[in-house]
């Protein structure tokens, strides 16, 4: 049936009765849906510092910096809010049960200073006892050890990290020796030194 303009008028009246569709936003905070993909956040308890998230991030929004000072090596992983596209790849790639970095429903991410638009997490690093280079994050090595079970004892780097965590050893007694000799094989080594001590010596 032809009803020109009648439907629009009814809808208009309905609109007047129902009231605005817009939310009272600043006064009533917006609550996104549970599945909303918001700001990814590091989890202090789960992140192992493996950098898988940095590897997969399509926008390059995750970076890291390894700082060695005074015998203590720390890896700081940054997540830049302004570059992030909230795709969730970091969470999907996270080796720590997808819990090390997780998308939150946090959406209110406006900021004034772009240089401060990041969040970071610090992870302890294990350094090579021969050359001082970074091997991996301590938690990462522990995670590998746990995964490997008894097979981990084939690698001094792994089992020594594990033993230190368990409090069974304080320092590697072999670490003080400074020669390219058999004792090196029992040290916590980076990949390069491992190659040299095993094949080169």
């Amino acid at each position: 049936m032809k009803l020109p303009k009648i439907r629009e008028l009814l809808e208009a009246v309905k609109a007047l009765v129902v009231g605005p569709y817009t939310s009272r936003f600043p006064r009533k905070p917006h609550v996104p849906f549970k599945s909303f993909r918001g700001q990814p956040q590091f989890n202090e308890d789960f992140c192992v510092g493996c950098l898988a998230c940095e590897e997969v991030c399509p926008a390059g929004a995750i970076g890291h910096n390894d700082a060695v000072s005074g015998g203590k090596a720390v890896r700081t992983i940054y997540h830049y809010t302004d570059t992030c596209i909230f795709c969730g790849e970091c969470e999907a790639a996270c080796i720590a049960d997808h819990k090390g970095i997780k998308l939150s429903t946090e959406w209110d991410l406006a900021f004034f200073d772009r240089n401060r638009a990041f969040e970071s997490i610090d992870r302890d690093l294990v350094t090579c006892e021969r050359c001082g280079a970074v091997v991996a994050a301590r938690r990462h090595l522990q995670w590998i050890t746990d995964r490997l079970g008894e097979l981990a004892f084939s690698s001094p780097t792994l089992y020594q990290t594990k033993l230190k965590e368990l409090g069974l050893i304080d320092d590697n007694p072999a670490a003080v020796h400074r020669e390219n000799a058999r004792s090196d094989r029992l040290k916590t080594l980076c990949a390069h030194c491992r190659r040299q001590t095993t094949a080169g010596a």
Partner: protein
């Protein structure tokens, strides 16, 4: 004392200041209802004032290629004419006096805001503005014809009185021809206000606000004020001529307010339930349908008068 009172009448009540306040209020109602129809929240009460104040504080930019003097004078012409009409319409019921032929003055002055738009647009030297100007002129030619016919009809019904006092006493709406005349006058008012579906001259999405394109700052503010004043004046004009007039005594004030609100709501509803029509369609509509219907209404009125049938 007379001078003082006259000054007060013209400038404060019911003159310019009151008209300004009522105009802003009408403009707010229009925007608020529009917003609510569109499921939006709408602006706060003082938003039209904020807009104007903001514009007044801005720089005036005069076009290089146009005529700056005419460009600046045009909006003032529009504001002056629309305010004078408003004062004339409001003062008449207050002091219960009007002079013979003031209706003609009012009708004449009501065309001036549109003319001001035409002059200002033409003086801005912008090609889009010239498009808008050509459209505005065509539109004026369109709606003035049926508008004059229906005003003439009201004059005829009131017994050839061409003063506002005489017209406001007549009971035009209580007849078929009166209702038709009122509806057609409403369409013409819609066009005079430049509201959809007749906003062809400023068509934002086609010619970027057309005649207004070069206006900024205080001059644009003056146009905004003119529009607000017109939004108040034109419904009052309709009430005076077609709907029993205005009286500022007792319950009549309430009736006046009610009539005013009804007309305003009608204008807003038409505005919000129609797309913009093309200028040729607008001309066809006014010259064809509206002029025809107005002439028919006139015929009905004459017949009613001749045969003594009051409801015609």
């Amino acid at each position: 004392m007379d001078v003082l009172f006259t000054g007060l009448y013209v400038l404060v009540f019911p003159g310019f200041l009151t008209i300004l306040v009522l105009g802003f209020f009408s403009s707010w109602i229009e925007r608020k209802v529009t917003a609510r129809v569109q499921y939006r929240k709408g602006p706060p009460l003082l938003q039209p004032v904020y807009d104007v104040v903001k514009l007044l504080g801005k720089e005036t930019i005069l076009p290089k290629r146009g005529n700056p003097f005419v460009f600046a004078a045009a909006p003032l012409l529009g504001l002056a004419s629309s305010s004078i009409v408003a004062v004339m319409l409001m003062i008449q019921p207050l002091v219960a006096s009007s002079f013979v032929g003031d209706l003609i003055v009012v009708v004449y002055l009501l065309t001036l805001p549109s003319l001001a738009l035409v002059i200002g647009g033409a003086a801005s030297g912008n090609p889009l503005a010239s498009q808008g100007v050509s459209r505005e002129i065509k539109l004026m030619l369109g709606y003035e014809l049926p508008f004059l016919i229906v005003v003439a009809l009201a004059v005829y019904k009131a017994g050839f009185r061409i003063d506002l006092e005489g017209l406001s006493g007549a009971s035009a709406p209580l007849s078929v021809s009166g209702v038709i005349a009122f509806i057609i006058a409403l369409f013409c008012v819609q066009a005079k206000l430049g509201f959809p579906p007749f906003d062809v001259a400023e068509a934002e999405t086609e010619i970027m606000s057309g005649t207004y394109i070069e206006y900024s700052g205080p001059l644009l503010a003056v146009f905004k004020i003119t529009q607000a004043v017109l939004l108040f004046t034109l419904p009052v004009f309709l009430i005076t001529v077609f709907w029993g007039g205005i009286r500022f005594v007792g319950l009549d004030i309430f009736w006046f307010a009610l009539k005013y609100v009804v007309i305003l709501v009608l204008i807003i509803v038409i505005k919000n339930t129609n797309p913009r029509i093309r200028i040729d369609q607008a001309l066809k509509f006014f010259w064809g349908f509206c002029a025809g219907a107005a002439a028919a209404a006139f015929g009905l009125a004459v017949a009613g008068n001749v045969f003594g049938i009051a409801w015609l």
